[in-house]
């Protein structure tokens, strides 16, 4: 019983920042700048090896260029944006909306990173968090969806499957 209460104490003091899940390495970036997103995948789906990583590009993020990865097939889905965004003077109305790396095998006990580069338009609101939903597919049909976007007043910690987040700061 002693260890139980001690563990409860530990939980109470440390249940702070979300260190779990699929996360972004750089968790803060100014709007109106190019951002290198490094997605860190720390584990498989309940023990099963990861075979595919899908990323939904949020609205307001344009000029997406994913980094190819040896052993993985890189695919992108293109689509129309909700509005026209300014990319260094060029109006942009469509582009990559989803990126997928598939065909590889990342064991549960291994760690890997998936990288893409994108432009955070100035239309994004500073002092908010930009969430990038990620779906992790694994062997045996298992799926982990890191796609929950916290409602106003809630934090990623309140959710079981929070999407990786990026704090936006004002343009430099």
């Amino acid at each position: 019983m002693k260890s139980l209460s001690l563990a409860a104490l530990v939980a109470a003091f440390t249940a702070g920042p979300a260190l779990a899940h699929v996360t972004l390495e750089t968790q803060q970036a100014p709007v109106g700048s190019t951002y290198k997103a490094v997605l860190r995948v720390p584990h498989g789906c309940k023990g099963a090896a990861t075979t595919r990583v899908r990323v939904r590009i949020p609205e307001g993020v344009i000029a997406v260029k994913p980094m190819p990865k040896p052993g993985w097939t890189l695919e992108t889905t293109k689509g129309k944006y909700e509005k026209s965004y300014d990319y260094y003077g060029t109006p942009t109305v469509e582009g990559v909306t989803e990126v997928s790396w598939s065909g590889g095998k990342l064991l549960d006990e291994h760690y890997d990173e998936f990288v893409l580069r994108a432009y955070l338009t100035a239309d994004l609101k500073p002092e908010t968090t930009l969430y990038v939903p990620v779906v992790q597919e694994c062997e045996g049909g298992a799926v982990e969806r890191w796609i929950e976007i916290p409602a106003a007043g809630k934090s990623a910690d309140d959710y079981k499957f929070p999407a990786p987040g990026l704090k936006l700061i004002p343009k430099k």
């Binding site: 563990a7 530990v10 440390t14 979300a18 260190l19 929950e148 079981k160």
Partner: protein, 529 residues
Amino acid sequence: MTRQLRLFLILLGLALASLATTGQALAHAALTKTVPADGAVIASAPSAFSLSFSEPVSPLVLRLIGPDGTSRPLTHFTLTDRTLAIAAPSALANGTHVLSWRVVSEDGHPVGGSVLFSVGAPSGAPDLAASQTEPTVRVVLWLGKLGLLLGLALGIGGVAFMAWVAPLPVAARRPIAGFLLLGLLSLPVAFAAQGLDSLALPLSGVLQLAVWKAAAASSFGRTALIAILALLVALLALFVPSRSGRLLAALAWLGLGAALAASGHASAAEPQLLTRPAVFLHAIGMAGWAGALLPLAFALRQADGAQALQRFSQRIPALLLVILLSGGALAIVQVERPQALLTTPYGLVLTGKLVLVAALIGLGAFNRYRLTETVVSGLAGARALLTQIIAAEIVIIVAILAVVALWRFTPPPRALAAAAAQPASVHIHTDKAMADISVTPGRTGPVTITVSLLDGAFGPLAAKELRLALSRPEAGIEPIERQAIKQADGSWQIGDLTLPVAGRWTVELEILVSDFEMTRLKETLDIRP
């Protein structure tokens, strides 16, 4: 590695992790395997449980909730790698148990869940007919009901004699007035006991205002009100001249029918268009017949008694037909299956009543077809015999009413089946999604959960997946999670679930709208015992 050391290392890891600014990516622990498996039915009680996680964990709370709802902490466990082996309490009862766990993983995030398993077979539905009221209250309630029924049947029924047979013999007035008073005195007793019964209070609670309010709020309140009026009108009818007396007697007679039709199992049954008139007619017929016996016995002592007897004989078959038809219709509605006559308490009461009624009809038929003629033709011995038989009939009628008053404690098979099947449901409406959740039946035991989804604007919501988690935090039950299966009609269903305890459950829906979109809905739902 000892538990303490292991915990210290976790603590150290946590401290280091929180020092690093963006932190090393640690993970929430996810349950990967359990023994017994979630939802499993196992032949005999296990001696140990095990929970395996995707990450190292340390337990916070481990609890086992038994089929009777008792919760006990599980304190004997060992951690081996990522598996938590827990010693099971000895002598687990048959039925559905909940192993509720809450652990802290290396990232300091507590996670919890529940594993449902059944020993022998899943817990069945509990017995609905069981009452929580103490026996003395039930005896008083029964006596009150019996007194009221006697007042109605022999008191008002006796007064009704003058409405449909002949003027009341003067000597019959006193006993009839006695029965009317018995009815008037029994009413408050039955009324108070009704309130005590509905609040499950002991006899000493009779002075509480809430008891009387509860009785007034029940359908018996209406019965009591109409019955008082009918009894008073009948009392009045005894003492006014014959013409208006007959009118008042008829009025009281109709009031008796209305009083009994206003409450009770039979009146509450569907279809109302059939059952309420049937109860009304049954009560009128019953009181007419039963109430006529006392005046008849007194009339036989008088010279003109034969005339009254002759009229009664002529008119009773029509009344009997009304009694049998209305009673038969009600029995079919209430009992539903013939075997319920012997297998349910309600059916047994009805069977007992029918046996007594058959005896009564036998005696009545003997009176009518054998004795009446001899009495009318003036044989002296016949009158004495008939008076004796009528006395026996009155005894049987009191016995019938005593049996009928038992019905207050035996819900009919129809009502039991309906109460058991009644679902518990909840509607959740947010701007993103709407859900209708219905748990059938809405009580402990095996249930089926159906969920209908709509989007926030009442349009169809084509979800990819639906998961449902049920938890009962006050009882220490962490979420029991189930994947719903989409049905042909577009609704979602979960079939393999046994709810172990009653009370307010929290239900959470995890709706996967598309690959990248998830909506959560949360609400509470009351599950009956």
